[in-house]
Symmetry: C2
Subunit: 296 residues, 2 copies
């Protein structure tokens, strides 16, 4: 099977932008056109399917936020499984945003759950938390290596609380740099024919200088960049870690969730056609901005 | 409703030991008496119910390991929900071992999923990962404060990889001490009538000196102590952070999973009665050792 890194970068090239559409199912924000998601879980399912159909047209990568499916209990998890399959069937690469972190046999369980075949999610990639150390990451890497999957490790997040732990200074450098350095020897294991590695790192768009520094440390890691759009970072900042290739600047994906799935015009749409037009327009705008930022 | 910290400590006092029975459903280890868990998920359900019945007799606290239920997909999550309810109905306090960590609205989603009423797990407490900072913890604390629940924050885990991040030295002290210090102002929020706080910390039994240092920093936090039993720490080491009270030494719970749910004698049992006797004996032995360690 094609390496995850190659599948991802090929999808980015085909889509013409590094846009990753994030899906955060908020019961209060899902338009009434789909039903009332506060009382009827199938409204979440219908909304998610409609987002997947538009994402497949306007982007190459899709990131469901598992915590917001889990709030609906095991039925929410079932819908997240179905959405993952539907997105893959529509040609999208799926990064499951699960931020799992555990060790030993439990980490193996999570790896099977997120990346393994049915009854697992069979996602292409999963986000994980490194606080417990390399023990956490190894079982995911082993499964990813065997089954051509990816692993996205939280390194430098874009939230204010990142200062509480990630930014603490260890012998002259913040912890997030130490976490990045610890990943270096492992990037080769998930390297594809394109030269990119499927050992991704999560690095927020709101710190472009830090993203460039991380690129020095990890020259072939693909970046998963949150913080663009609703969280305020510009397209140029979001692709700060990208490097120039024959295909323009590339080096990962930039996530946008709320701005492209709940744009203002979609929230007041009276018909499904109006809703599709509004969400499609928001995705096109994000993709265009990111395309432009990758063309300079 | 009684504060979580008081419910937990009352259950420990009633049970006569701080034993927390951990349930890690390994398909290969669940005895054939319950069916073949590798092909039939209801075997997981039957095994879990049988463990809950014995745990309710021999311990006060129960910790299902969510990652090992998630490996069975959404049906595994359904069983984990049922096991949580069954354990509570049997009088156990349930700490859901989910190690979630995210921020903002996603953290709120996870908090509802783990601690909220149906369709959430409605667990009494959940384990969380602090790598993203206080942003991660606040939504769980807010829900816990409102609904008399608990939150157990990973501080000092017992795995070798703990050195990769937690042990890094920040101005003369390891990161895990900084994480502990960051929790101090919040312990009051979940304080019960017993004086104990439901803002628990996870601190491995394999580092008793560090556990005592953490107790200095967090005098009224309840400790969730992994690493006793299969992982090799003694009962005395496991309760190193406990303090003397009128009820003997107390200050948290000590988890044992494999040693008390898959003891050797249970794996070769020919009948359910033999299996119950073997598992019951293993729980009694762990409870007795911990009771003795708390009596000196």
């Amino acid at each position: 099977m094609t390496a995850f890194a190659d599948r991802l970068i090929e999808n980015v090239r085909r889509a013409g932008s590094p846009l990753c559409v994030g899906l955060d199912p908020f019961p209060d924000k899902i338009p009434a056109l789909f039903g009332d998601a506060r009382v009827e879980i199938e409204a979440v399912s219908r909304f998610s399917e409609a987002i997947v159909a538009l994402a497949a047209r306007h982007a190459g990568v899709f990131k469901p936020q598992l915590g917001l499916f889990e709030q609906f209990g095991h039925e929410g998890v079932r819908i997240a499984e179905e959405v993952t399959s539907a997105a893959q069937a529509a040609g999208l690469v799926v990064i499951l945003d699960a931020k799992r972190g555990d060790i030993g046999t439990t980490a193996e369980g999570y790896a099977r759950a997120m990346l393994g075949p049915t009854p697992g999610f069979n996602a292409d990639c999963v986000t994980i938390n490194p606080y417990m150390g390399l023990d956490t990451i190894e079982p995911f890497l082993a499964l990813a290596e065997r089954d051509s999957k990816g692993v996205a490790v939280l390194v430098r997040t874009s939230n204010p609380g990142a200062r509480d732990v990630q930014d603490l200074n260890v012998e002259g450098a913040p912890i997030w740099r130490r976490v990045a350095a610890m990943l270096v020897p492992h990037t080769e294991r998930l390297k594809g024919a394109t030269g990119w590695s499927g050992l991704m790192i999560v690095a927020g768009a709101t710190y472009p200088d830090e993203a460039r520094a991380l690129r020095q440390t990890l020259p072939n890691a693909l970046f998963l960049v949150p913080g663009y759009g609703a969280q305020g970072a510009s397209a140029a900042d979001a692709v700060a870690s990208f490097v120039t290739s024959t295909q323009g600047r590339e080096g990962g994906v930039v996530n946008s969730s709320r701005s492209v799935t709940y744009p203002q015009a979609a929230q007041t749409a009276k018909t499904m056609d109006e809703w599709r037009a509004a969400v499609g327009a928001a995705m096109i705008q994000a993709a265009s901005e990111l395309h432009a930022a990758c063309s300079v």
